[in-house]
Symmetry: C2
Subunit: 521 residues, 2 copies
């Protein structure tokens, strides 16, 4: 059932109101809906980005009266909205909210859902333009989609789009199975696989930084860059998600999606055009060039960690295996560091180091591009000058900084590192979900994950997961509140590299480098 | 009389105390001494950079008692010192100050000066290490130097150095004459020709920026740079210097020295070593590659302006020809703009635009490196994105900024210009004369002008001066308080370029550039 997207081409790239639509949200009473989805929809509404004609149809298993559902959404907004909830705006917004209880195994419930949706479309003169958002357990994705088809909701005369949350499978085989099921109902172009890192302000800024400036592209390769370091650390532990997390681990939960997405954004070639498929084609090419690790290579390129007890912000916290719901002998990794190689002309010889973990010293996502060391001449005869770094601050700070060496004012000729930066208050920055819902409703899938990306990412991850399962990679414990196991530092030390201190992290080396001026002739 | 400098090599590049010396200052009661030289010496003293053994011997025509001279210096410090004058520090410093009246045509006066200097050297156990600083009318340089030799002061058993102020000649012939005279007494390595722009913090920072970082050198050439723009503007008019200035004009007063020095710092190749002569060799190579303009080329590459009446900071001010001491029909230029070409592999095809003038809209010295325009693709299909610029803020702000294009936070996909910068409060920055006196006393001539630089600069300037004299270049009037004559803008417009707004100058074009995001496929 191909649906053309071309009718929306006139709206491209502007803050114009989105097209009229019905937003059918599965899991509308769940955590994600309350924390992210309703606040994002409401922010779009307050910004005037939602059209006059729209409706949100919430569904979940629990029966709710409409007033009770709306009160529930209101309470969610009070807790989680980015801006104070304006009473008038809320009153208007609430008029667009509806609810229909659905047990996803019940065809009758889906029939009632279809009636409720078509009823609203009639009452509000809405075209059959439907967004299906599945904010629910991934095991249910296939069932829901088949039921949506069965009840006739996907047979819209207008367009329809499916937005689904991660994880997309737990390995290549399961992902392929899921994809086959979804594609019985939706075409690839209608499927919007959320990777909320792609909705982050500064991740989206990478393509702008690279392709809207002429000073960076000439140094964006292995002639100028020594290595790339991508960190996404959390201070929280497994929280209430032990059931899911202990099955997944950091490799599937973070590396297969978010970390590889950031690698792709940094490493991709300039696309032929700045259009969705051209961009996604280039991202896929990065994954095609990503060297697959297998056998003994995994242990020399990947570090697998699990947090032990320790301290977070001065509070003692338990180790992973003592968390509620986690088996006492779990060998699930809560930390992964890895050295990746992208075997193409641009990146040959440039390691991409990634690391991600729970219960680390700080919650921070940053990309550090480390440029080549300076030759041992001029100001750097003792090798003490720090190399230049371009840092993309994704979270919690948002901005770009460049570490350069400059003369210290005065007569002593000292050269010291200084930062050139621009940043923005993250408070003013829309949430990732605002951007992604906006794009999804608009039909821009640039910042969603295409099937071949998912599939190639699993092909890279599966052999590593298998090595973990076979215990071919040692499981290194690290104290909660640290920067991960020592093996993570050793991974870089083996290349004469080191993790650069992240924003807020105390420098491991003195930042003041004194250097001589002109030796007298 | 060669003197080795090598004995000071151990001190290179540090804030160590300078060697013991006697600083013999001609023009010690003049404006430069009061405004710059004594404040600089005192600052070095307060910083602990002057050695325990040093003496300053002031000379001028006027008779002074020693207490009166010291009081005069104290008054100068009260007015012009960079930091408050500490009473104890002053009391100690004053003990090092001496005075000897000298009529520069009187051999007897020079004999008395020699006696006074040697007497102090004996009393304070000072080695015969003598700095001669000529802060006086350049017509007197040769006479003074010959008298210094005649009285025996230059026959020091230690070293001796001659520091002289600009201008060094008014054309190649007069400069050669002066140089021949000086070199009868001092060797080239003993002559320190001041160009105080070379003492400016950010001018000295250019070599650090370029050679202590690995990200700039790869883009520092004609593949990445569209043009270079160097501005040094003043708001003052000719002030009390009409007698000198009307003979000199902006070309000799600013272009031959300061402007060309900044061109050399930006354009030079990396030297083989960071040593004085290696650096000066590279600077000279820039002048050798600088295309000489002659005949009709001058009028198409150089703009000659003179200020008419106008307003400065809301006050009406007279035109140049109405200034006291200026002939009513003077055709002396108070403004020069020019397009320079450096015909070498690095800079072929990259225009260096320079402009300098009096009675302009603001007092500012800045170097703008404009990078290539972006291709008309991606975010720049309408050509509205501004090219990247690296700006070296020399005065009054001190710092570096880079203009880049980044995504505006939000969902609208707009790309906007942002500045990444580091700066320092100029108040904390030593005056140019502190650095230059420090270097001169220390024997580091890197930031002084070598004879071949002077000579080549005159070779470039002389044909332009001749064209001016023959009125082959029109004299364009510009209102006081403006950015110069329209011809200056037209000079760049002919190359599809324009002067970028300087710090504090209102942008000539809107800074907010809205651009579309991803066109939907």
């Amino acid at each position: 059932m191909p649906r053309t997207e071309l009718s929306h081409a006139t709206m491209f790239g502007t803050a114009h109101a989105l097209p009229p639509h019905t937003f059918i949200m599965f899991g509308a009473t769940g955590d994600l809906a309350r924390r992210k989805l309703f606040p994002a929809l409401f922010a779009l509404y307050q910004n005037g980005q939602l059209p006059a004609q729209f409706a949100v149809m919430g569904t979940a298993r629990t029966p709710y009266t409409l007033p009770a559902f709306r009160a529930d959404v209101r309470a969610a907004l009070e807790s989680f909205a980015r801006c104070p909830v304006d009473a008038d705006a809320w009153a208007d917004f609430a008029e667009h909210l509806f609810y229909c209880p659905v047990d996803v195994r019940s065809p009758e419930d889906f029939s009632r859902l279809r009636e409720a949706v078509t009823d609203i479309e009639r009452r509000f003169d809405l075209p059959e333009q439907r967004v299906f958002y599945l904010a629910m357990a991934p095991e249910l994705f296939a069932d829901v989609v088949i039921q949506l088809q069965g009840c006739g909701l996907t047979a819209a005369r207008g367009w329809r789009r499916l937005i689904i949350e991660k994880p997309f499978g737990r390995d290549l085989a399961s992902a392929e199975r899921l994809n086959d099921q979804l594609q019985q109902v939706f075409e690839e172009a209608e499927i919007y696989r959320i990777d909320h890192y792609l909705g982050k302000e500064m991740v989206q800024n990478i393509e702008v930084l690279r392709f809207a400036n002429s000073i960076f592209e000439p140094v964006w390769d292995n002639r100028s860059i020594q290595n790339v370091q991508i960190t996404s650390s959390e201070t929280v532990g497994v929280e209430e998600r032990a059931g899911y997390y202990d099955q997944a681990g950091a490799l599937r939960d973070m590396v297969q999606n978010h970390m590889l997405q950031m690698v792709m954004m940094v490493a991709m070639e300039p696309p032929s055009r700045l259009k969705t498929e051209a961009i996604r084609d280039e991202k896929v090419k990065v994954l095609r060039s990503l060297r697959r690790l297998s056998g003994a290579e995994v242990a020399s390129h990947v570090v697998r960690g699990q947090y032990a007890s320790g301290q977070i912000a001065g509070q003692a916290v338990p180790g992973y295996c003592s968390e509620p719901g986690v088996p006492a002998d779990s060998r699930t990794e809560t930390f992964v560091a890895a050295r990746l190689w992208i075997d193409n002309f641009r990146w040959a010889g440039v390691p991409f180091y990634i690391r991600t973990g729970k219960r680390m010293a700080a919650k921070v996502t940053e990309i550090v591009i480390q440029f080549k060391e300076l030759p041992r001449m001029y100001f750097n005869q003792t090798g003490q000058l720090l190399p230049n770094r371009l840092v993309i601050h994704v979270h919690p700070e948002e901005g770009i900084s460049i570490q350069v060496n400059a003369k210290r004012p005065g007569t002593d000729g000292a050269v010291v590192p200084v930062a050139m930066e621009f940043g923005q208050a993250p408070d003013n920055s829309p949430e990732a979900y605002e951007r992604l819902l906006y794009d999804g409703i608009r039909g821009d899938s640039t910042f969603f994950t295409r099937w071949d990306e998912v599939s190639l990412a699993w092909k890279f991850v599966d052999p590593i997961a298998e090595s973990f399962r076979m215990n071919r990679v040692p499981l290194a414990l690290y104290p909660a509140g640290s920067w991960g196991p020592a093996a993570s530092d050793q991974l870089l030390a083996a290349d004469d590299a080191r993790w650069w201190p992240l924003t807020g992290q105390a420098p491991a080396i003195p930042e003041q480098v004194h250097q001589a001026g002109h030796p007298l002739d």
